[in-house]
């Protein structure tokens, strides 16, 4: 179905970013605009999702030029559900940022850049053209460069330096892959590439190109051995910014990997082995890194790396059950990781520090907040019936079907180490007596805020906790959706036929 509704999320975010730029110093209006705008974004995404569910794959062609010539935008169930999840965490971060971002520290430009970032993310979900995907990726990294240096302390600049350099190299490698693919097939439309690739005789060159894509996107996704930039930079910016980075940026890379490797680089045995090995090593190395961290945000950063392994493992196993598990994990992970970094911001507001050694006493001082924090943490660990449990179950089931025992071992190990690190977090932050509460200078602790300001901190965490709970209670609906997505990914003929009906 040809439908221009696909473009609406992108246009909405663009308009928001531009409008908010005019409210340069009126920070109150920026906050309201951002929250209302992202609520509208959520609404549009849900409408798009329902429409895609009812009518199948939607597409639109730029300038009404037919498929291989015009630039195609496509929304299948995968894209549409990613948009809904993005909108959910986007809205939560909007609320959180409205409360936690001080006026002194860069509130002026935060919201406009933030909406440019969301525009890039929504764009990459509906891109049907490879070069278009590249441009959306560039838009994301330009906006994220702006956000990660915002405020500009010394440590932050050092984190930003690593982030910027590695992302630039990743873009260059991704573009190299695109150049190879254009040389091989003479087209950039993803559906058209999928048609042309089986006709190419030089299979070795296709494998090389596939691995070039895997490296380029892999750096952005932070898989082994290209993840070192992530824990070195994600703990430096403001909590609201870490939240959106930790929740969404690496996952856009995962989405692109899924799209590319299911549509035209169908994994042969060599690529599948590489991907599976990388997934297992990502799980193990990320878990080992998380075990020894002493800073809350660094600990969570390493957990991001570790959990990327679950999704890549699904791609490596490449059966419909495993893919369904991986996609379920992707949805769950975006929500939970966004929430984790917001929790780290809340913990900082409560106690004035990020260091595990100095933290403590949350349970005795703030029992209600402790209960709130428990939901996302338990979801992350995957205690049944919470949301982390089901995707892992599907992944292990998928691994058993093809008898990939090594990757199952890595998945189980990754889950256990996550449990251990979260137990450590619980012990240090919640149960331990606080070893003395001296706040830094000019720091307004949580207890001195009025209730609206408190709501800015707790409401977004509660929203995302509810979404996590919904993944647990409404698991049947979610499993139906991810099964449908996995089926679509395993059988891309439908996608190709919709975009190129004549050929």
């Amino acid at each position: 179905m040809n439908d221009n509704l696909i473009l609406l999320p992108i246009i909405l975010q663009l308009a928001l970013a531009l409008i908010l730029l005019f409210f340069w110093s009126r920070t109150k209006w920026q906050r309201i605009g951002s929250i209302v705008g992202n609520a509208a974004f959520l609404l549009v995404s849900i409408v798009l999702f329902i429409k895609v569910q009812k009518e199948g794959i939607l597409y639109t062609q730029a300038g009404n030029w037919d498929a291989p010539y015009g630039i195609t935008f496509v929304a299948d169930l995968f894209s549409a559900s990613m948009l809904v999840i993005t909108a959910l965490s986007g809205l939560a971060v909007s609320i959180f940022a409205a409360g936690s971002m001080s006026r002194r520290r860069s509130l002026f430009v935060f919201f406009p850049i933030y909406h440019f970032l969301l525009m890039g993310i929504s764009g990459s979900f509906v891109a049907g053209d490879l070069f278009n995907l590249y441009v959306w990726f560039e838009l994301i990294i330009v906006a994220s460069f702006g956000l990660i240096t915002l405020g500009g302390g010394r440590r932050q600049l050092e984190g930003a330096l690593k982030y910027v350099t590695l992302n630039l190299i990743a873009s260059i490698l991704f573009l190299t892959g695109i150049a190879f693919l254009y040389g091989l097939t003479g087209t950039l439309n993803m559906a058209h590439i999928a048609q042309k690739i089986p006709q190419i005789e030089n299979e070795g060159l296709i494998t090389v190109t596939a691995l070039m894509f895997f490296i380029g996107l892999g750096i952005k996704t932070a898989v082994f051995p290209m993840y070192f930039w992530l824990p070195a930079s994600y703990h430096t910016p403001l909590s609201a910014i870490s939240a959106i980075f930790g929740g969404l940026l690496t996952k856009v890379g995962v989405y692109a990997l899924f799209r590319v490797f299911s549509l035209f680089f169908l994994p042969d045995s060599f690529t599948a082995t590489v991907i599976t090995a990388v997934a297992a090593l990502t799980l193990i190395m990320g878990a080992m890194g998380a075990l020894i961290q002493k800073d809350v945000r660094k600990l969570f950063s390493w957990l991001i790396v570790c959990h990327i392994g679950f999704m890549i493992a699904g791609l490596g196993i490449y059966s419909s059950v495993a893919l369904a598990g991986a996609i379920f994990y992707l949805f769950h992970d975006i929500i939970v990781k966004t929430n984790l970094f917001m929790i780290s911001g809340l913990v900082h507001k409560l106690t004035g520090t990020f260091k595990l050694k100095k933290l403590g006493g949350l349970y005795t001082q703030y029992p209600k907040i402790t209960f709130l924090i428990a939901i996302p943490l338990f979801s992350l660990v995957g205690i049944p019936p919470l949301s982390g449990f089901w995707p892992k179950l599907l992944l292990i089931q998928g691994g058993l079907e093809v008898q990939e025992y090594l990757i199952i071992g890595a998945i189980v190990l990754g889950s256990f180490v996550t449990l251990a690190t979260i137990a450590k977090f619980w012990l240090e932050v919640i149960w331990k007596e606080q070893p003395g509460s001296d706040y830094p200078k000019h720091f307004i602790p949580f207890r001195e805020l009025n209730w609206t300001q408190k709501a800015y901190y707790t409401l977004p965490i509660a929203i995302l906790a509810l979404v996590s709970l919904y993944f647990a209670i409404g698991v049947e609906f979610v499993v139906n959706i991810v099964n449908q997505i996995a089926y679509d990914l395993m059988n891309p003929e439908q996608y190709i036929r919709v975009i190129l009906p004549d050929q």
Partner: protein
């Protein structure tokens, strides 16, 4: 022509990666610029080099006749140049700030400071 371009592209990738691996911040950014230009040249090369007409349909014709140059790689390169220009400008300002605020010129010293904390 293709062979010469291929060698140049290979040389630019090698030079760019070599410069990135050096420890100096200035060489890092120069390396990134060279790599970025290398990839543009690669796009140009793999788009197919033809000595042909520009892809414009004349007033009296209805389709493209004869040998014509593929316009797509040129559009791609143009986009890529603009994007990489913006990113490199940002990276330069970042490195300059790094130098002004921290007096850091050597990448190794950044790593050591992180370990102290």
């Amino acid at each position: 022509m293709e062979v010469i371009l291929a060698i140049i592209v290979g040389f630019m990738y090698a030079a760019g990666i070599y410069l990135i691996l050096r420890r100096s911040l200035v060489k890092l950014i120069i390396g990134l610029i060279i790599l970025g230009n290398g990839v543009n040249l690669l796009l140009f090369l793999l788009g197919g080099i033809t000595k042909g007409h520009p892809p414009v349909i004349g007033e009296s014709e209805t389709f493209l006749a004869g040998v014509y140059a593929d316009p797509l790689p040129q559009a791609l390169i143009l986009t890529a140049i603009v994007i990489s220009f913006g990113l490199q400008a940002f990276a330069m300002v970042l490195l300059q700030q790094e130098y002004v605020q921290g007096g850091v010129e050597d990448l190794d010293s950044i790593k050591e400071e992180e370990e102290e904390k």
